[in-house]
């Protein structure tokens, strides 16, 4: 009989990443449906001091692997450490973040645990005791429900920004158990980490995104999108055309061969709406399109369309946003 549900947290530079709390919140629902406790796994350097925070989001007991050697994600180290904790139990499901490191970890961990992984899920349900998960395929053109074979451990990585996150309840206490870390020999290591300290909002976690395409015409013109983004507290994205032209770094590319994003608001500026671009932003809650061509396909996906020259419209819009922000 299953004796728990497990949620794995992601810890970086001294803090849990928000997706860890989303995963814990979702795992709590599964644990409640199956009437078993929720165990958390927290791995990192100095993670022990923060472990109790997982309790605020529904974890009953946190297993902590705290070691300076675990400061950065190295699959060869993280996978055996996490697997050895999971193997103490007979979980009904293991939920993990589908972040950059989380997806990589989940895949290797599934091979170690010899089970099936549903990657990047957007919904998890318990159907008469059986866990099912829904995930986008073909870049969101289709959705697939996954089920596990009898006796197989369901592993589910959860797409960031999609699952509901509970409000933190700081009165909720979790037990914390330190685990003796038995580090294996590794042939790989992290040589360096550069974190952006300019306060730039990460695309996959942004609430609002302003993206520019070929219509921006030149790298320097993105200044007007950056000004708008600043007023909105938004991240700036780009189409492949803008990235291929060298106007923006590849890490800004949204789409089938770029990032898949789920903001509340996506503002597409000078972007035509090619199928590969729509694949990356089509599940945004609200979409605004600014394009001078009324026939541009992006308008078929937009909640609000503006047919205008972007070089005239964006400064005017930025000004109106500024006015709004100064009154509230």
């Amino acid at each position: 009989m299953a004796d728990c549900v497990v949620s794995v947290a992601e810890f970086r530079a001294g803090n849990f990443r928000r997706v860890s709390f989303e995963v814990a919140s979702e795992a709590r629902k599964v644990a409640d449906a199956l009437n078993v406790p929720l165990y958390g796994i927290a791995v990192g350097a100095g993670v022990g001091d923060k472990a109790k925070e997982l309790g605020w989001y529904g974890v009953d007991k946190v297993f902590v692997a705290d070691d300076p050697a675990l400061e950065h994600y190295v699959p060869e180290l993280y996978v055996p450490v996490i697997a050895s904790i999971i193997e103490r139990w007979n979980p009904a499901a293991v939920l993990l973040p589908a972040s950059v490191d989380g997806k990589d970890l989940s895949a290797r961990l599934a091979a170690r645990l010899q089970t099936g992984l549903a990657q990047d899920c957007i919904q998890v349900v318990c159907d008469g005791g059986a866990v099912k998960a829904k995930r986008p395929i073909f870049a969101g053109k289709c959705l697939a429900w996954c089920e596990w074979a009898q006796g197989a451990l369901p592993m589910i990585s959860c797409r960031p920004n999609v699952m509901d996150c509970k409000d933190a309840d700081a009165t909720r206490q979790a037990d914390v158990e330190k685990v003796a870390v038995d580090l294996p020999e590794a042939r790989s290591k992290v040589l360096g980490v550069e974190l952006d300290t300019t306060g730039k909002v990460e695309l996959t976690e942004a609430e609002i995104i302003v993206s520019g395409g070929r219509g921006m015409k030149a790298a320097e013109n993105f200044v007007i999108l950056e000004q708008l983004a600043k007023e909105l507290g938004a991240a700036v994205g780009a189409s492949r055309a803008a990235v291929d032209a060298g106007w923006r770094p590849h890490s800004d590319q949204v789409g089938q061969t770029g990032k898949v994003v789920n903001p509340n608001l996506y503002i597409a500026v000078g972007i035509s709406g090619a199928i590969q671009h729509l694949a990356g932003m089509g599940s945004s809650k609200y979409i605004v399109a600014v394009n001078k061509d009324p026939e541009a396909p992006i308008f078929t996906k937009a909640d609000y369309g503006i047919v205008e020259d972007l070089f005239k419209f964006i400064p005017a819009f930025t000004e109106e946003v500024r006015k709004l922000k100064s009154t509230c």
Partner: protein, 265 residues
């Protein structure tokens, strides 16, 4: 340097995806097939390694005979030989099952380095690479946007949320490719390349050639399966903000709509 690229053929990214009457699979008959874009990046990176260190690039794929065309394309780009595991008893296998088969093919080739996509643009599982590495007991470095090797080790850069990590591994190792077309700029096959590719060796293999069977890799071994497919909800039709307004008027109307109706700003 003995380099292996794991290559998957996927439907063209322009494809319209329709669910088949069984509700569990997609209609494949009118699809156009391409090399998974991330695997094309892997071919490019492999050819650059070969240019620097010499050696051979072997393309490995599981799939039906239609995949021959994609392997020939990679050979025309400059790869040296191909191995196609054309065995339909693998159908219905899950990621782990297919990874077992791919790991066996890799093992037989004894490469120094394996390059593969970080994800395939069809089912987007993003798992084969790390799984193959785990099964081989090798290190893997994921989502490379740069790759360099001194012949005995490999160094990559990988983008993470809000930053970049540099990782290093001794060989043999597996690297999964991230980045985009702008990063890797995969070369096109030249006409002489296409002519030469026709004569390059391409072996057809079965699971049995590696001492494996469907029991270990195919449907009977699958731990996870797709039970049903559905189309995503249609977006509600939107509206064009016009009403004969001038630019400033439209800007004000859009702010009002986003603030009062959508409540997102």
């Amino acid at each position: 340097m003995n380099i292996v690229v794991l290559l998957k053929q996927t439907p063209d990214t322009e494809s319209v995806i329709r669910i088949a009457p069984d509700g569990q699979s997609i209609v494949t008959q009118d699809l156009k097939w391409i090399i998974n874009p991330y695997d094309e990046f892997a071919v490019e990176a492999a050819l650059r390694l070969k240019e620097k260190h010499g050696g051979t690039v072997t393309i490995v794929s599981w799939g039906p005979q239609r995949v021959v065309e994609s392997i020939r394309t990679a050979l025309a780009m400059g790869a040296d030989k191909g191995v196609l595991l054309d065995d339909d008893t693998l159908d219905g296998g899950d990621s782990l099952g297919v990874a077992r088969a791919l790991a066996a093919v890799v093992q037989a080739l004894q490469p120094d380095i394996v390059l593969c996509g970080s994800r395939a643009v069809d089912y987007d599982l993003a798992q084969r690479g790390p799984m193959v590495a785990e099964l081989l007991g090798w290190p893997h470095l994921g989502l490379a946007v740069s790759l360099d090797s001194d012949g005995s080790s490999v160094t990559i850069e990988r983008p993470i949320e809000g930053g970049k990590v540099t990782m290093h591994a001794s060989l043999p190792a597996l690297v999964t490719m991230g980045g985009s077309h702008a990063v890797w700029n995969p070369r096109y096959a030249s006409l002489p390349g296409i002519m030469k590719a026709k004569k390059k060796p391409l072996e057809m293999k079965k699971l049995g050639d590696y001492g494996l069977s469907a029991e270990e890799c195919g449907a009977p071994a699958a731990k996870i399966r797709m039970v049903s497919l559905e189309m995503p909800p249609e977006r509600k039709p939107g509206r064009i903000i016009d009403d004969g307004l001038d630019t400033e008027g439209k800007a004000a109307a859009l702010v009002k709509a986003l603030h009062e109706e959508a409540k997102v700003i």
